[in-house]
Amino acid sequence: MQAFTQHTGIVAPMDRANVDTDAIIPKQFLKSIKRTGFGPNAFDDWRYLDKGGPDIDNATRRANPDFVLNQPPFDKATILVARENFGCGSSREHAVWALEDFGFRAVLAPSFADIFFNNSFKNGLLPMVLDAETIDFIFKAIAQKPGFEITIDLETQTLTMEGYALVKFEVDAFRKHCLLHGLDDIALTLQHADEIKAYEKKRSQETPWLF
């Protein structure tokens, strides 16, 4: 997993609540057996005017000029800001892979759906919960100055941007540790293999029908 320490980048505005994972990566692209290559089809239904599919070359398709991520400077954005309940719906981790593959390192929203939130941390994408007032400020700042940048420092859990006081954000200690170091959490769990085996032994006596 790609570590996340500090990041500065352009913020793209997606002024919608309930951006669901079907919108982030439509179903026809879930047939892939790989983790990579989803970026060109992130937000596919909104991003292109004509039909797409795993067998269709995106270069032959007409981009929707009204879609924010097709407009410079947002086509180079690495941070996305949106409204409530970002990432709701399907558990597809492909949504996170698509955002990452597009180039996003962080998503800022007042709230996230639980599964998307979890999936993000497993892939080095930082989902950041900010209060509605801060989110409103960011939308306004981008409207005034497209190309508006934000600096995120995970170690100090701070967000710096022009015209606004330093923002402290919350992140779970364990997740922060894994993200800062790009750690594989399977290896960390396997350090407790003896405890898992002891649990299984006890449970197989108490509830033998489960084993």
């Binding site: 609540a17 079907d22 892939s32 309940n85 979890n118 779970d172 399977i186 299984e200 489960l210």
Partner: protein, 465 residues
């Protein structure tokens, strides 16, 4: 000892170890696997040289991509075919139990787990699919996970989790005739909102929930995720135990008696503390129809499409306007005046035998309306299909002009050939009405099986008599 909720009990019984920050390593009893969210997880195992920790905990099945028409020629789409073949070869390589496409037991993962008795009360059940909450109907802790977590469970039999808060949704009193589990859960989502359950595990209780069959409870728990809750659950009672008894993977003989004795405790204790409780009056719930692009955008059949100008929350009002444009609807239109192009009866929400019986009852002796281009019934599993055929339901549907298909996820998410064309409007018994969910540009209205059948016959939404 202090009073515990059902969720507290299930959680506590599965904690292997706890970290100082409250993160717990949670043991997983049953891991359901399908073709879409698993290939990258198996690849991860191979790259790291790891083996499944407990192969016997896994039950795998292809469901999202499988065709619902004649399967003797295999899957036509080469990309989908490769994904299903990849599941087959991964299960062979790692020694995992899989019901392949030609197996009579194949079906939607959330239908076959309970059907086989692979989902049991008191278990932790996970699957790389958000509708895993379905299995909570059995007094189990069941939730959807991403592909990285699929790999984590395969490799360690555990997941790192933070405990959710407790919510009780109590549906009090009796529901009227014709009001089904689907109507109840849509009404709950209408009340809670799509994010109202975020961060919570929801226990569904009250007289109207306990009056439901297991099929009905599965429908309710299935859609907990549409209210934002990863897990939904119902306490164990005689209905639960009667359903599980005698199923292929359920315990037998002495172990059965021991298990049943243990399961008696799978309910919230009197006085258990919930962080949030909401009450709904079952008698006030009418058959429901969604009008927008989020499951919370729902009204009763005798209602009209709501007006965004009446909404005080500006973000919400803007969402409603976008939804009306996408759905090509005008505020104030009676729901019964909305005509449909296609009808889909199926999905992990509503494809079990009881659902098909309810739809067949409405369709019996009638004809699908001329303006409906396609009305399809997709059973949840090969065994549901077999049972329905034994009862003659297939004949009823076929005589009325419905198509009778092979089991799979089908037009719920349209990964296979079953989908809406741009602009088409569908009465669907599935769980999501998001933009493009059933096909790019398609317009989905979520309803119960009986309401879907009624819409097919009338050609527009109609109340069931």
């Amino acid at each position: 000892m202090s009073a515990k909720t059902l969720y507290d009990k299930l959680w506590d019984a599965h904690v292997v170890r706890s970290e100082d920050d409250g993160t717990a390593l949670l043991y997983i009893d049953r891991h359901l696997v399908h073709e879409v969210t698993s290939p990258q997880a198996f690849e991860g195992l191979r790259i790291a040289g790891r083996k499944p920790w407990r192969a016997d905990s896994v039950m795998a099945v292809p469901d999202h991509n499988v065709p619902t028409t004649d399967r003797s020629a295999g899957i036509e789409d080469p990309v989908a075919r490769l994904q299903v073949q990849t599941l087959d070869s991964n299960c062979q390589e790692f020694g995992l139990n899989e019901f392949v496409m030609s197996d009579i037991r194949q079906g939607i993962v959330h239908v076959i787990g309970p059907e086989q008795g692979a989902t049991l009360p008191g278990m932790t059940v996970v699957c790389g699919d958000s509708h895993t909450s379905t299995h909570g109907a059995f007094g189990a802790l069941a939730f959807g996970i991403g592909t990285s977590e699929v790999e984590h469970v395969l490799a360690t039999q555990c997941l790192l989790q933070n405990k959710s808060k407790n919510m009780l949704v109590s549906v009090d009193g009796k529901a009227a005739d014709g009001v089904t589990a689907k109507d109840i859960v849509l009404a709950i989502i209408g009340e809670l909102g799509t994010a109202g359950g975020t961060g919570y595990a929801i226990e569904f209780g009250g007289e109207a929930i306990h009056a439901l069959s297991m099929e009905g409870r599965m429908t309710v728990c299935n859609m907990a995720i549409e209210a934002g809750a990863r897990a939904g659950m119902v306490a164990v009672d005689a209905t639960t135990i009667d359903y599980v008894k005698g199923r292929p993977y359920a315990p037998k003989a002495k172990l059965w008696d021991q298990a049943v004795a243990e399961w008696q405790d799978l309910h919230s204790d009197a006085g258990a503390k919930f962080d949030k409780t909401i009450h709904l009056d079952a008698a006030a719930i009418r058959p429901q129809v969604t009008w927008g692009t989020s499951p919370e955008m729902v009204v009763a059949i005798d209602d009209v499409v709501p007006d965004p100008d009446q909404e005080s929350d500006s973000v919400k009002a803007e969402g409603m306007r976008k939804a009306l444009t996408y759905m090509d609807l005008k505020a104030g239109t009676p729901i019964k005046d909305i005509a449909v192009d296609k009808v889909f009866i199926g999905s992990c929400t509503n494809s079990r035998i009881e659902d098909l019986r309810a739809a067949a009852k409405v369709a019996a002796g009638k004809q699908v309306a001329a303006n409906v281009k396609l009305a399809m019934v997709v059973p949840g599993s090969g065994l549901v299909k077999q049972q329905a055929e034994k009862e003659g339901l297939d004949k009823i549907f076929l005589a009325a002009g419905f198509e009778w298909r092979e089991p799979g996820c089908s037009m719920c998410l349209a990964m296979n050939a079953d989908r809406l064309e741009p602009g088409e409007r569908c009465a669907s018994t599935s769980n999501r009405n998001f933009e493009g969910r059933q096909g790019a540009g398609g317009r989905t209205h979520l309803v119960s099986p009986a309401m879907a059948a009624a819409a097919a016959i009338a050609g527009h939404f109609a109340d069931i008599d």
